[in-house]
Symmetry: C2
Subunit: 342 residues, 2 copies
């Protein structure tokens, strides 16, 4: 590489000041059109590269937005991220992505890095056990935060997520209406607000149908296909096998269906299974998965929009924005059979 081309390089070769060059490149009306064109042409010819750190040092806007979620490889977050990316792209914001794998330390390290880089804002799906101070650290240093998919108590930042209690009650009611009464709930944890809300939705639906809630049928676990697969083994070993399963998400559901199939049973006929999220893969699974649409794209888009609006000065109302989930009925659920397959 020759030596770095900077504003002053262009300025000198053209016999103008760096101020003029700076203004010209940003299309300021302060500089004459003919000068502007000459400068732009020269910048291109020299292969000038704008130095954003220098600029942002001066302007204190970096054009960087941080996004941190549990695991970007999880398609649920993937779909949210895709929507965020699309929205931020339209406003030319660079986004920095990270997993926290539910480690509060890793998450805080990310927030600190982002602050050091002068991030303009952060969108996060907070790690389990995130102390409110970690979010305030960002806010107090002029970096607004938006929460997605999970809530934290004791903060008044904007939150975008699905209505979990309602969503799970949809799935549970669907199974009840098919005649099922022994319904397990598999995957996830009750340590997150999401987890508590979902369990609540499940319990409420059962109670309303006068079905006794059996705590043994609540089986927490990883929110992955692998987790579902293993839960299936456990479920099939219970003294009273459930006839239906409400799953934390589509991955768990697909894992369970694989586990059921591996045991020689037919999911959707011998045991009904519902997913959650309505991922792209849900309709391809065999049998096609009955699930609950959770509006990931909507969540991501709105969260990004809210942040951008906030950065541009509009006053977005804080507080929780709930997306209403919708039922997607496919082939993985079916009526209760009087003589369950063995």
């Amino acid at each position: 590489m020759a030596q770095k081309i900077k504003l002053s390089t262009i300025a000198e070769t053209l016999g103008v000041s760096t101020a003029t060059v700076s203004l010209a490149l940003r299309d300021s009306p302060l500089v004459a059109a003919v000068t502007r064109d000459k400068i732009k042409e020269q910048a291109r010819a020299l292969g000038y590269i704008y130095n954003r750190r220098a600029a942002s040092l001066r302007t204190s806007r970096s054009g960087i937005v941080g996004v941190v979620v549990h695991d970007i490889m999880n398609p649920f977050y993937g779909e949210i991220l895709k929507a965020i990316e699309a929205e931020l792209d339209r406003d030319r914001q660079t986004f920095i992505l990270s997993n926290h794998y539910d480690s509060v330390e890793k998450q805080r390290a990310f927030i600190e890095t982002l602050l050091q880089l002068g991030g303009d804002g952060v969108i996060m799906s907070p790690a389990i056990g995130t102390p409110p101070e970690d979010i305030r650290l960002a806010e107090d240093n002029g970096m607004p935060a938006i929460l997605v998919a999970r809530s934290i108590e004791g903060l008044d930042v904007p939150i975008f997520r699905g209505d979990d209690a309602y969503g799970i009650s949809l799935a549970t009611n669907h199974l009840i209406s098919l005649g099922h009464r022994c319904i397990a709930m598999v995957g996830g944890t009750d340590q997150t607000s999401t987890g508590r809300d979902r369990y609540q939705g499940y319990v409420t639906a059962l109670r309303k149908a006068n079905i006794e809630v059996d705590p043994n049928l609540r089986i927490p676990g990883p929110r992955t296909m692998q987790g579902g697969f293993e839960a299936a083994v456990h479920l099939l070993s219970l003294p009273q096998k459930p006839t239906a399963v409400v799953c934390w998400n589509d991955l768990v559901a697909i894992g369970i269906m694989n586990g059921i199939a591996r045991a020689g049973l037919v999911p959707g006929r011998d045991i009904s299974v519902t997913g959650y999220d309505d991922l792209e893969d849900a309709s391809i699974a065999t049998p096609a998965l009955t699930t609950v649409w959770n509006g990931q794209a909507e969540v991501g888009r709105s969260a990004a929009r809210a942040l951008l609006d906030k950065l541009n000065g509009s006053h977005e109302p804080d507080g929780i924005h709930l997306i209403k989930p919708e039922m997607r009925i496919r082939q993985s659920t079916g009526p209760l059979r009087s003589t369950p397959h063995d």
Copy 2:
């Protein structure tokens, strides 16, 4: 937010110079231990946040590494990314992630952004049709590039990827040894070096077994589950149905198995299917997927290591580093049946 705490704030409250503070915070032996401790304590107390853009403006090292791949939601890249992330983390590098979705423009925009931010280096799985100049743009501006998973002709940057021709020949030979002679190859494109290599591996294996290559059995397409699902429909409509399918990757294979199952056939018995990559999900699929381990974690780890070494001055040898794939035989492949199921 109060006002920003900077080096000078600490310096003033302690009655020392900013130089001392700067040196102390970075553990320079130039400053007395007792002074250092006092300064660090004060920095913590005031909630000082290091301003990396200011620092990097002076030092011209940003601690930022860019990573751009086709699609981070694709688990193949996900596994590579995870390994890269882990390796970069150990060296405290922040990484900026982006998809290019095989758009050369999007990829170039990313490289330019990264240059503006003063990125120290970039790891990329180049978009189809990437002109070598785009990579040179990075290198010429002092930002070394490392390629993963895909090659580009006419460059001498380090490349880390699996040995595709060899890998596909493993899968093809496995099917041939099971007695199959009508073997389709599904998914991907022949416009990438990877695609050409894989097709070559398939053709070579067939020829060596004296099997005529039928171009109609090469069915390019998306590298997704959805793509596989749709290809299954096409395959089953062929006048002479293939008895085995070599798939571009595990996603396509799982999609095909779902398509086969939906048509009432049993994958692994009626039609053998091989995947590629050995994703985590491969062993959970039903039936468990026979596939080729492609060393994603190894690729990611080595690539990140190579970049870090390069940044630290060691001279990593350029050129292609091939990872040797290995066969993983499971239940989705089986011997040719004399009277294929209808």
